[in-house]
Structure formats: C-alpha cells, structure tokens
C-alpha cells in the first residue's frame, strides 16, 4: 500500500472522483489540463453563430446537403 487513496478527490467536486490517476498530483494530469485549457478559447467564431442562425431559420430541422 504505497499509494494514497485515489478515491479522495482533492476538492473541486470533479467528475473523476474514483481512480484518478490524472488528478492534480499527477504531472501528466496537470499538463493535460494545461494543454486542453489552452485549446478552449472562449471566443466563438462568427461562422458558428451564423450557422446556428441559419439553421434556426428553418422551423423544421432539416438535412443540409454534404459538400
């Protein structure tokens, strides 16, 4: 028993409460979050806003032809 109880979630009430080998104590876990957080940019490009506005124009969701 040389490892701590992985079930103990060190705060934050995250989903990964059991067997958390990627918790904040893990270097891989930290880097992973750092990497991902950098990818999550809060700005939403206009193309998506426009796309949804376009889709919303159709009362009935409908199939959009593929490229």
């Amino acid at each position: 028993m040389n490892h701590k109880n992985p079930g103990i979630n060190r705060g934050h009430g995250r989903d990964i409460s059991t067997t958390d080998p990627l918790g904040t104590n893990s270097e891989i876990g930290r880097k992973l979050k750092q990497y991902y957080d950098e990818l999550v940019t809060p700005e939403i490009p206009d193309r998506f806003d426009n796309l949804l506005k376009e889709l919303e124009k159709y009362e009935q969701p409908q199939t959009v032809t593929e490229e």
């Binding site: 040389n2 490892h3 701590k4 992985p6 995250r14 989903d15 990964i16 059991t18 067997t19 080998p21 990627l22 104590n25 893990s26 270097e27 891989i28 876990g29 880097k31 992973l32 979050k33 750092q34 990497y35 991902y36 957080d37 950098e38 990818l39 999550v40 940019t41 809060p42 700005e43 939403i44 490009p45 193309r47 998506f48 806003d49 796309l51 949804l52 889709l55 919303e56 969701p61 409908q62 199939t63 959009v64």
Partner: protein, 182 residues
C-alpha cells in the same frame, strides 16, 4: 420555440469545448472547425432525439466523435498515400507561447493512438466521468480505464516522467482490476 431557442443556446455554448476536443482528435485547427460545424448541423437535425435535461455536452461529443471517425475512414480511402504528409503540413500548434514543455507534451500526445488519446482527453481534460466517456466512445467502462492507463504510461515513457510514486503502472492496474471486479 423557446425549446429550440434553448437548444440553440446550448449548442453555441458548447462550441469552445467542442473545438478543443476536435483539435485534440484531429490535430488540425481547420479540420477541427469543419468537424464542429458538421457536429452542429447533425445535432440540429437530431434535435428531436435529444432529451432536454440530459447531458447535452456528452451528446454533442458523441456526435463529434462519430463524425471524426467517419471522416477519417473516408479520408484514409481518399488520400491513403499522402495522408501523413498532409497531416504533418497542416498540423496545428496553436498559441505557441514559448513553453517548450507544453509543446513536448503536445507532440507526445499526438503520438498516441486515437483511442488512447481520446480516452485520456475525455477523462483528464474534458471533465467526463468514466461512465460518460464509455458512453461517448461506445465501449465498456473498463475499456476506457485501460486506455487511459495505457495512454498515461505511454506519455510518461515518451516524456521521461518516471516515478510518480503515487500511481505506478501496478497501482493503476490494481485499481482498474478492482473496479472492474467490484
């Protein structure tokens, strides 16, 4: 109409995290945004099959992931030979911030097989539970656990991180085994 409105807002709000997941999967920013676009269109079409109140994010991730793999299969057939070259050329390295540490990590992550990469991203970065990740990937919870574990070990090997005492491979394996049995 209000339901449509809130569905639409939900989709829009999910865009940043969908983009992040798409980049992680496809390793390519342009392709990632195409994936997100296709996901939104598909989600819109399937709106009737979404139960309000359930996990919209997980539902969208499932759609995006399916779309990614179906595009990848198509792409493999189309550009079998040049695929590697294209990927390398378009490979995205956003926000080069001089953190070579993080760049190393990114490269290491890209070396993982897709199934392991997506598993470790879903669990370690996107904040999904093992159960949700299993649902998204259409596989057993134990499969996700072993993929995460293999991904983590592989990343440690590549990056030369050793002796994270708390959870060596044996510890992880033991936990997984215990959980599956339990």
């Amino acid at each position: 109409m209000t339901e449509t409105q809130s569905f639409r807002d939900g989709l829009l709000a999910a865009v940043p995290t969908l983009r992040a997941f798409a980049v992680s999967l496809s390793k390519n920013a342009d392709r990632a945004d195409d994936l997100v676009q296709e996901t939104l269109v598909k989600a819109w079409d399937k709106q009737a099959s979404f139960q309000p109140g359930t996990n919209l994010k997980a539902w969208l991730f499932t759609i995006l992931r399916n779309e990614f793999y179906s595009q990848m299969r198509k792409r493999r057939r189309e550009v079998e030979d040049s695929d590697g070259a294209i990927t390398a050329r378009l490979s995205v390295h956003p926000a080069q911030d001089g953190s070579s540490d993080l760049n190393d990590f990114r490269k290491a992550l890209e070396l993982l097989p897709e199934d392991q990469r997506e598993a470790i991203i879903l669990i370690g970065a996107s904040g999904f539970s093992y159960e949700e990740a299993a649902e998204i990937c259409g596989c057993a919870v134990g499969t996700i656990k072993s993929r995460v574990s293999r991904a983590r070990n592989r990343l440690q090997d590549i990056l030369g991180i050793s002796g994270e005492g708390d959870f060596g491979p044996d510890g992880v394996t033991a936990q997984i085994t215990n959980t599956i049995v339990a």
